[in-house]
């Protein structure tokens, strides 16, 4: 039995209205949390409350509402900074999400710092969002993309990484947690190795921040990107942590209002960080929702979240392994509650379609990691990605569904 009481989980589930809906007449089993997590009431309320009572543009007005909105907006910046333990709230830039944060660095860092013949190191595990921006930056500059391979279990091959690092390396960009295999990468170790060679490290934390605490100072990474929608917050908002020393040296990303200091037709000077990277009216309402999500996570506490997710991971791993013909793809020692698997002789699309009809939302396909699929020699997987509001009973339903799928396609 899990140490966490069913009452506790039920009370947490009650915070998420969508979890009580049905799909095709069956209770929803939501196992697609790596794609996006569901939203608790306080997040939904924060957004609607903002529009109902507090809406005004930020950083612009002397009037009461604008000042109030600005204060609340900047409070969330502080909240995010504390959440990841940044030295300074100015090191938090709001973006649309992890993808925009990656693009921001791939443009604003690479433009001044990447030259012909230089190299950027990524890994085989990366999401397309953490591949394509670097790939295009390399193409533009005549630089080269180097890729850290994985072991058969799905761990990064750190020995090869060390060999790849050299004087031409200008950036190491790796994910904190693989969205496909669930591998938790040894980011602190990677940072230490890269820093020895004077190379900055960008961490794609899209999956990282929802499964456990992140301390950017302890990790000592130079950048850390995240998406609120994978942290029980709203879609369309996320952010980038960047060390002040880098952010100050980087070029602006987009140009326009807010990010300027002084504009004349001859010349424009830019605002200081973080505003230099936040052109235009920001997504204030979703920043409010993001703030509420962080409050929610703080209130729940990582102890509960991690205990519940670890329990689900080990329970689901054992249950799935016990089903004949099920093969788990990705068996790293250090894993988050994300399980990719295949059912022997059955296409993942067929299996996923039937599971959907049973009310079970799993993701099928390549999970935006096509190069990883190529390396693994498969076209895709079924992926069950779990969150603290999932239950062992839901895992049992998944296993039951696999048995039905096997019977149907036998």
């Amino acid at each position: 039995m899990s140490e966490i009481s069913e009452e506790k989980i039920q009370s947490v589930r009650n915070d998420f209205p969508i979890l009580s809906r049905t799909i095709y007449g069956k209770p929803l089993v939501y196992f697609d949390n790596a794609a996006t997590t569901q939203k608790p009431n306080i997040v939904i309320d924060a957004i609607s409350n903002y529009y109902r009572n507090d809406n005004a543009n930020v950083h612009r007005g002397v009037h009461y509402l604008s000042q109030q909105a600005t204060g609340a907006f900047e409070d969330v910046r502080k909240k995010v900074a504390t959440f990841v333990n940044a030295c300074n709230p100015n090191e938090i830039i709001f973006t649309r999400g992890a993808t925009e944060a990656i693009n921001l660095v791939a443009c604003s860092y690479c433009e001044p710092f990447l030259n012909a013949g230089d190299e950027i190191i990524i890994s085989v595990l990366e999401h397309h969002s953490n591949i394509v921006p670097w790939q295009v930056a390399c193409e533009r500059k005549g630089a080269f993309l180097k890729v850290i391979p994985i072991t058969p279990e799905g761990d990064l091959d750190i020995i090869v990484f060390e060999e790849l690092l050299n004087d031409r390396t200008k950036m190491v960009a790796v994910s904190h947690i693989s969205n496909t295999l669930g591998t938790i990468n040894p980011v602190a170790e990677i940072v230490e190795m890269a820093h020895k060679k004077g190379v900055p490290v960008f961490v794609d934390g899209a999956q990282g921040l929802s499964h456990g605490p992140v301390d950017v100072q302890e990790l000592d990474c130079d950048f850390y990107a995240f998406s609120a929608h994978k942290m029980y917050g709203p879609m369309g908002i996320g952010g980038l942590y960047g060390k002040t020393s880098w952010l100050e040296k980087m070029q602006p990303y987009q140009l326009g209002g807010e990010m300027i200091d002084r504009v004349t037709f001859e010349k424009t000077t830019y605002n200081e960080i973080p505003y230099k990277f936040e052109a235009g009216t920001p997504n204030v309402a979703d920043v409010m929702g993001f703030g509420a999500a962080i409050d929610y996570l703080n209130e729940l506490g990582w102890d509960f979240i991690m205990a519940q997710e670890n329990d689900l991971l080990s329970y689901a791993t054992a249950q799935l392994q016990a089903v004949e013909g099920v093969k788990i793809i990705g068996t790293a020692q250090n894993k988050a509650a994300i399980i990719s698997f295949l059912i022997e002789g059955i296409h993942f699309f067929d299996a996923g379609t039937i599971m959907d009809h049973l009310g079970i939302a799993v993701r099928t396909g390549s999970h935006c990691t096509q190069p990883l699929m190529d390396i693994l020699g498969i076209n895709g997987t079924l992926r069950a990605s779990m969150a603290f509001y999932n239950t062992r009973q839901e895992v049992d339903k998944l296993v039951e569904a696999i048995h039905r799928v096997k019977t149907l396609f036998a």
Partner: protein, 142 residues
């Protein structure tokens, strides 16, 4: 049989089943009867893009009529391909170009018609229509 008649026949076949599971079972059965595309025809050109499973669809034009063959690595997709082939194979380009294609809605497999990228249905219908359109143009010009 006209396209409309085959369509109605298929709708009736599926309407025998109340349970969605039986509908899928039937679809899976049908997948086994699909006129299989020749392995040499499993080329990139015949691969339908935009679906999670790989689907190949090939056409042949004989005596004014178009005949289709297909295959897929997913069984459900293969069944859907067969439904489409039953409906469209053996018809003239004009008949195919002008045909309505809403019958999958009616048999209760609507989610396969939703324009998501995960299923190949829309792409298959589009490809069938494109083949027909190409033969139509060719015919006019000859």
């Amino acid at each position: 049989m006209t396209i409309k008649e085959t369509t109605n026949l298929i709708i009736n076949e599926f309407n025998q089943f109340d349970d969605w599971m039986d509908k899928y079972n039937y679809l899976i059965e049908m997948g086994r009867s699909v006129p299989l595309i020749d392995d040499t025809q499993k080329t990139d050109a015949n691969l339908i893009t935009g679906c999670q499973s790989r689907v190949w669809l090939s056409s042949e034009y004989k005596d004014g009529l178009i005949y289709f063959t297909a295959d897929s690595d997913a069984v459900i997709t293969k069944g859907i391909a067969y439904l489409l082939i039953r409906v469209f194979s053996g018809h003239t380009p004009v008949e195919i170009v002008e045909a309505e294609t809403t019958f999958l809605d009616l048999i209760g497999l609507k989610e396969h018609l939703s324009p998501t990228r995960s299923n190949g249905l829309l792409s298959m219908v589009k490809q069938i229509k494109l083949y027909a359109f190409a033969y139509q143009v060719k015919e006019k010009n000859s």
